[in-house]
């Protein structure tokens, strides 16, 4: 089987994503077991300094072009599709990230290569890669056997150990030109919009009382706020709460929100979808209250209760008040 493994080394603002090391670690393990090679693919402009931490790879292919300075899907898909069709890796690992969500399906279509999303495990079996995906908000696992010249696996962040792919030292670097003109593309990067400071910083709070769709209405957030106040904590939330404009985006935990590591993360009416878990799974203590015994949050929490938050919040508030008075 073809165990040449390519890993897309995505970066933003001069920093490689943690995801890159998670993927490199997994790629390394597969390659070592099957006598394969790991190649990190680093596309960008003046990013050669980033190769210094890619020691877990055997080689880095550095694609250097001004049009790759900041991410826009078209130029990236162009250079990556060309590279992959020339080098024909057996497996291409792409993060399930904002960039990876644009890249992987486009590459799959352009190269007519099979692609599987939301992967949490990869094994080999004969000529197949066997990929396990976590779907339905974490409620269903799907195991897929995939054959193809290049198999594209989109990997969920936070699943593989980052330390396994963290190795100092620059591997052999091959620099490749991209030979592109701005006129070749119908899109271009314009600018960054940085988050506004102002609201409190949930990444610094030792206690997060976090609400999900189970809280039902904006008014009910007050219940969580009172609990947080008694405990000396702060209210955070899952994405739907922010999408409803019930809380500002600064309170959002997860893939597109903040990554938090409080001493206590109290998840109230949060199902535990992978995009949420990505942002809170490293909290010291995770406690979840949810009416659904199958809620995936119970597999990341340390303690759980299958109960209605509208019963538990007031009861807990009462007992807290009693204790602290």
């Amino acid at each position: 089987m073809n165990t040449s493994i390519f890993v897309i080394a995505e970066h933003l603002e001069g920093r490689l994503a943690d995801m890159v090391f998670e993927m490199l670690g997994k790629a390394r393990a597969i390659a070592d077991a099957d006598g394969g090679q790991v190649t990190a693919v680093l596309a960008g402009y003046d990013v050669s300094s980033l190769t210094a931490t890619l020691g877990a790879a055997d080689t880095v292919i550095l694609i250097h072009d001004e049009l790759l300075a900041e991410f826009a899907p078209q130029p990236y898909v162009r250079v990556l599709a060309r590279l992959i069709s020339e080098r024909k890796p057996g497996l291409l690992l792409v993060g399930s990230t904002s960039m990876g969500l644009d890249l992987a399906p486009a590459l799959s279509t352009e190269l007519d290569a099979p692609m599987i999303s939301s992967c949490v495990d990869i094994t080999t079996e004969g000529d197949d890669y066997v990929l396990t995906s976590q779907l339905y908000g974490g409620k269903i696992m799907t195991e897929t056997a995939v054959t193809g010249e290049t198999v594209i696996a989109q990997i969920l962040p936070g699943v593989f150990r980052m330390e396994d792919g963290q190795k100092e030292g620059t591997p052999e670097v091959e620099t490749v030109g991209a030979d592109m003109q701005p006129e070749d593309f119908r899109m271009r990067f314009e600018n960054f919009i940085k988050p506004k400071a102002g609201d409190l910083d949930i990444t610094q709070a030792p206690i997060l009382v976090s609400v999900g769709r189970g809280i039902q209405t904006q008014e009910n957030i007050e219940l969580a706020q009172q609990l947080a106040d008694t405990m000396g904590g702060v209210v955070s939330s899952s994405r739907p709460i922010v999408d409803q404009d019930w809380l500002p985006v600064t309170r959002q935990v997860g893939k597109s929100g903040m990554t938090v590591k409080p001493r206590l993360y109290l998840a109230l009416g949060i199902s535990g979808a992978p995009e949420h878990v990505e942002g809170m799974k490293n909290a010291d203590l995770i406690v979840a209250v949810n009416t659904d015994p199958d809620a995936p949050i119970f597999s990341v929490a340390h303690y759980g209760a299958v109960a209605d938050i509208f019963d538990v919040i007031p009861a807990l508030s009462d007992h807290l008040a009693e204790k602290t008075s």
């Binding site: 826009a72 899907p73 898909v77 904002s98 969500l101 644009d102 399906p105 486009a106 799959s108 279509t109 352009e110 099979p114 599987i116 999303s117 939301s118 066997v130 779907l135 908000g137 409620k139 269903i140 696992m141 195991e143 897929t144 056997a145 995939v146 054959t147 193809g148 989109q154 899109m187 990067f189 314009e190 960054f192 919009i193 940085k194 405990m231 999408d243 404009d245 597109s256 929100g257 903040m258 206590l264 979808a273 010291d284 995770i286 199958d294 119970f298 597999s299 990341v300 340390h302 303690y303 759980g304 209760a305 299958v306 109960a307 019963d311 009861a315 007992h319 807290l320 204790k323 602290t324």
Partner: protein, 257 residues
């Protein structure tokens, strides 16, 4: 401006998911389907754009589950044209769905095609990116805001990154955009208005191209519920028991004094 919104139905996670006897798919016989959350945002964004710039909004679905309600709801919210592609599409792959949509887009004329960004049942990545690649159109996904400049024929897209960071990408029209969230929360329409739409609006039925559906380049071997290993220690008992135990745990961890 003519906008196409592609709406997808996904199994409702509020219902318990069952797995078929072979263990290779969900048991879809009693499945309840709902519109994918991000598609509701895509529809909202399309209507916001229509309100701002004029034009038409077409809502397109494959025939999966009770899509009529979804289409009439879209009409009640302001969609002008409702199209349903007929066929047996339950469990269709993203690749094949994209091929069916591509055929529709080729036979119509749209300035902007909005899809959701990633449905939770999606095994093959966002359809929008595939559709765009098939049509050689630009695609940007994970978008949570956009400004169209009709005279220049471009759209400025806000693409999301972790921590509330956005980048702006300027893209020529026509383009395909994967919407993560609309610039306003999806509007609510009363049932009465949807019922009214079901009487006044017509659903156009279209056929899928014969060659669109290809066998998948993979084999789904096993569909299962996650192992309950590494599970939380569950607290049993009455509400009061739970509250008392939680307080104990918080105290043990030095979180309350």
């Amino acid at each position: 401006m003519n906008i196409l919104v592609i709406l997808k139905h996904v199994p409702d996670l509020v219902e318990e998911l069952e797995i078929n006897a072979e263990g290779t798919d969900l048991d879809r016989s009693w499945m309840r389907y709902i519109p994918s959350e991000y598609d509701e945002h895509a529809l909202e964004q399309a209507i916001l754009l229509k309100e701002e710039h004029g034009g038409t909004v077409t809502a397109l679905t494959l025939q999966i589950g009770e899509v009529e309600d979804t289409l009439f709801t879209a009409s009640a919210k302001g969609a002008d044209r409702l199209v349903r592609i007929e066929g047996d599409f339950e469990g269709i792959s993203s690749r094949n769905a994209a091929a069916v949509y591509a055929d529709h887009v080729r036979r119509n004329s749209y300035d902007l095609i909005l899809t959701g960004v990633q449905a939770y049942d999606d095994l093959e990545g966002p359809v929008g990116a595939r559709l765009a690649a098939m049509l050689a159109l630009p695609y940007v996904g994970v978008v949570s805001g956009l400004h169209v400049d009709p005279t220049a024929g471009v759209v400025h897209l806000h693409k999301e990154y972790p921590g509330g960071m956005l980048t702006v990408i300027r893209t020529e029209l026509p383009a395909v955009v994967g919407i993560q969230s609309a610039m306003k929360p999806p509007r609510y329409v009363p049932i009465a208005k949807i019922r009214q739409a079901s009487k006044s609006a017509a659903i156009e039925e279209a056929d899928a191209p014969a060659d669109a559906l290809q066998p998948a380049p993979y084999n789904i071997r096993r569909v299962s519920k996650p192992q309950s290993g590494g599970r939380a220690e569950m607290i049993e008992g009455s509400t009061d028991d739970i509250a008392v135990r939680l307080l104990e745990i918080f105290t043990e961890h030095g979180l309350v004094r």
